[in-house]
Point group: C3
């Protein structure tokens, strides 16, 4: 897709300086952009690049004063960064909007109900009684188990596996390789030391506007639902165990793990590689630092923790600071001990000599 400066300017409600016919077909950072690319300049740190860039079009703030002539056509707008981000979004939308129809070969159960305008990529498996609503796109090599329902305008990237009975609401995005609805890890110990599988017959419910990264795993509930609430954002390689609840607009970074039945509130932030034990509650707005090991509930809304086992953020930082000086601390104790030993020896001498 190619666009002229004139077209982009209309879209952004901007003012053109230079050649209105300049053409672009892709985007670039100002320090790297080439002929035929669109860039933007907002951060003063990058000002020099504006005068050396080979970009064909640059979006700049309306108030910015040029120090010297520039090569690209300029489009002046109120907020260059926002305008650029807006274009990126539009571009991505257009790229995926073209995807429609059912690629062959596909396996679609005769009892599945698909809206007319969905995209189903090649080698997708769509099970019995599956419902897929308007505008949803399912990329190749994905598996959608029996009785799964998927709402409007979702994007399921390639190789996603959604087990039977799970529900996705609207505008959900799931990245490649992610597994939704695998069995929870439940085994009853037997007298002989072996384990017997506890059937996992619940499901996973994923609400509106949730985005889930690549190769993440979300287990189905033993009974009831594992639930990812509206607007939550999960990164790659995350483990969500059975019966967990992730609150609205909660953000979880890569490789974090949440154990069974833990309830996470709204607007919580969980850092990468953090781990939460099972059966605890995390209050709204809590912040869990990367690599933390959270072993008990966080009851304080907007409370912050770090460390493994995790403690209050500020206290833990103080303990960590002392930890780094532990060898010196030990030395100070040794010195005290030797002085005190000497004082005690002298005292003993005094006592003895005074007798």
């Amino acid at each position: 897709m190619q666009f002229t400066a004139a077209q982009i300017s209309v879209l952004l409600n901007g003012k053109i300086e230079g050649n209105a016919d300049a053409m672009v077909s892709s985007f670039g950072k100002i320090e790297e952009a080439q002929l035929g690319q669109l860039t933007f300049f907002a951060n003063p740190k990058y000002e020099d690049y504006l005068y050396t860039t080979n970009a064909s079009i640059a979006i700049v703030n309306e108030g910015y004063e040029l120090r010297q002539p520039v090569k690209p056509t300029l489009i002046r707008v109120q907020d260059a960064y926002s305008a650029f981000a807006q274009l990126l979004g539009k571009y991505q939308e257009m790229a995926t909007q073209q995807l429609k129809g059912i690629q062959q070969p596909c396996f679609i159960s005769s009892s599945a109900k698909l809206a007319d305008d969905v995209y189903i990529g090649a080698f997708c498996y769509i099970g019995d009684n599956v419902k897929i609503e308007s505008g949803t796109k399912i990329f190749p090599n994905s598996f959608i188990g029996d009785n799964v329902s998927i709402g409007r305008d979702c994007i399921i990237h390639p190789g996603v596996k959604i087990y039977h009975d799970c529900e996705l609401n609207n505008q959900v995005i799931i990245h490649a390789g992610t597994v939704i609805g695998s069995d929870g890890f439940g085994f009853a110990p037997q007298a002989d030391g072996s384990f017997k599988k506890v059937p996992q017959i619940g499901n996973v419910v994923i609400e509106d506007h949730v985005e889930i990264g690549a190769n993440t795993t979300i287990d189905r509930a033993t009974m009831g639902s594992t639930c990812i609430k509206a607007g939550a954002k999960l990164d790659n390689l995350i483990q969500i165990a059975h019966n967990v609840e992730v609150g609205n607009s909660t953000v979880i970074a890569a490789q974090a793990g949440v154990s069974g039945s833990t309830k996470i509130g709204n607007n919580v932030m969980i850092g990468g590689q953090a781990g939460l034990v099972g059966h605890i509650q995390i209050a709204d707005g809590a912040k869990i630092n990367a690599q933390s090991g959270v072993s008990k509930s966080i009851k304080d809304p907007y409370g912050a923790v770090t460390g493994s086992p995790a403690g209050d953020y500020t206290s833990a930082l103080r303990s960590q600071a002392v930890f780094r000086n532990l060898p010196q601390l030990e030395k100070r104790i040794q010195e005290l001990e030797s002085i005190v030993k000497q004082l005690m020896a002298e005292r003993l001498e005094q006592v003895t000599s005074s007798k």
Copy 2:
């Protein structure tokens, strides 16, 4: 599938109270169950729900005395929870038993040997000389490499990848996206700082009744076998490196990792996100806490460790308790120092004045 209270009662050898024709088609927790669902009541904590539930049938202990009339048909049995779990198991069995035959399109090598009653889902790849025994089900989009052998009554969930030459015994369950038999991470450092791949020509052997979660990776041995022994249970997103041995009925929680050639005994429990270095031995029955970093062998059967680096569980908890008070500990040292300094100054004064 629909069942009447009468049918279920016969199955459980129970006694019916109420309408023997009440019908159910699914299961529900007592606090959530709806018309047409079966529930159970065992934990006194949930007693109130028994009198408000909309479930059509409830399984209860034979000795329980009703406080007032209830809506559901009751089935009385000796142990309500066990009876319910038994039904769940039966239900799951029936649901998967229906799966048989080979869905098209499929790729099955002409040299593969498949029992008559296997299920092979659409888009599965079955390589040369593969053997699959009776009752095994392989869900769609799975890859079974050349010379792989799979025993009886296994369930391979969608999108599993099993590399060439690996062996699965009987009643093995593998969840979606898991990779069995990828190359071990072996590279020989070269004089110029680069690395040369060490060929990995061993395989992975998975014994009876093993269950492996979703998106887990088990690398093939350099030579010989990486081995997961009978009854071991592995959760999601676990890394098992080349030549590792996991003992009988050992349980490993999500996101744990085991480095090359480490031998883990029987009935070991490994917590989530724990890591084990290579070439160590873990004694039978050992307990490794979540997020531990185990850097040396655990020789003590049933020994427990925690922390990174991991130490004896009880000692480590004591150290962690002191760690939380390190700033106060430092303050106490400062106070001691200032007192001792004062005592030393007075002593010096005494010595000087006594001259």
Copy 3:
């Protein structure tokens, strides 16, 4: 494939002792090898096995003196281990060299350009404008998005997903289930506490001789490229975030994670389950211990760190040693306090009595 001792001896430029017609078709460790297998003996620790092994052929060092007769045909070479590794490599090469052609069913866009001798497994999806060069093998169930380019002699194992616009150079190996080019984790916080997706329109570039393990995820850049440089080796279940750069011949062990925009130098070694925050630099040759949490740049080439948060390796080990004795340290402080308290009490007494 079967080979005689005579054929192997020619290949290795070795000398035969025993039956030159002895046949082998696979490899085995000396303690396990069976009839029809080739083994080697180099490590004196395994000497006894040389006299009990059932292997048909054994490679031994030319200088080794037999203590008694052996069953296998011997092939004497200068360095038995190297010769064996060389054979393993050759064997693997031959096994994959046979793979050629396009298995059906496949989905290959009419605009894709494939070299004549590539292998494309069944159920692969090859998007628009994809370029695949000579000798490359793509195993079944893989997804290659639009505009992806893949160089010469690459091996893409089954079920790999490569998003649109990504680039792989030559001799790259990617193991099963790995995802290349998923969206970076970028969301702009909104006034109402929700998050808005920041479009990720960059790509991933993977240079020559890189090997990437199974179920690893490498996110595309927001703009520009996430880059894995020549000769880097990544293990399984690793997370590489958007705009990260991994240097030449850098080695990253399983389950490690690198946050956005971090630049890792050449010949760095990162241990398993280590985590790096975003926007930092790691100097060439740095060593990051397993489970470390690296929260700031490592500026010292060949510097080593450990711990979470990570500190200088040697200092951190000293602190960890004291940590293990913290309860005793606290006891020593208590004893000092009680002695000092006593000394102070006596001093007060002296002062009082001397008045």
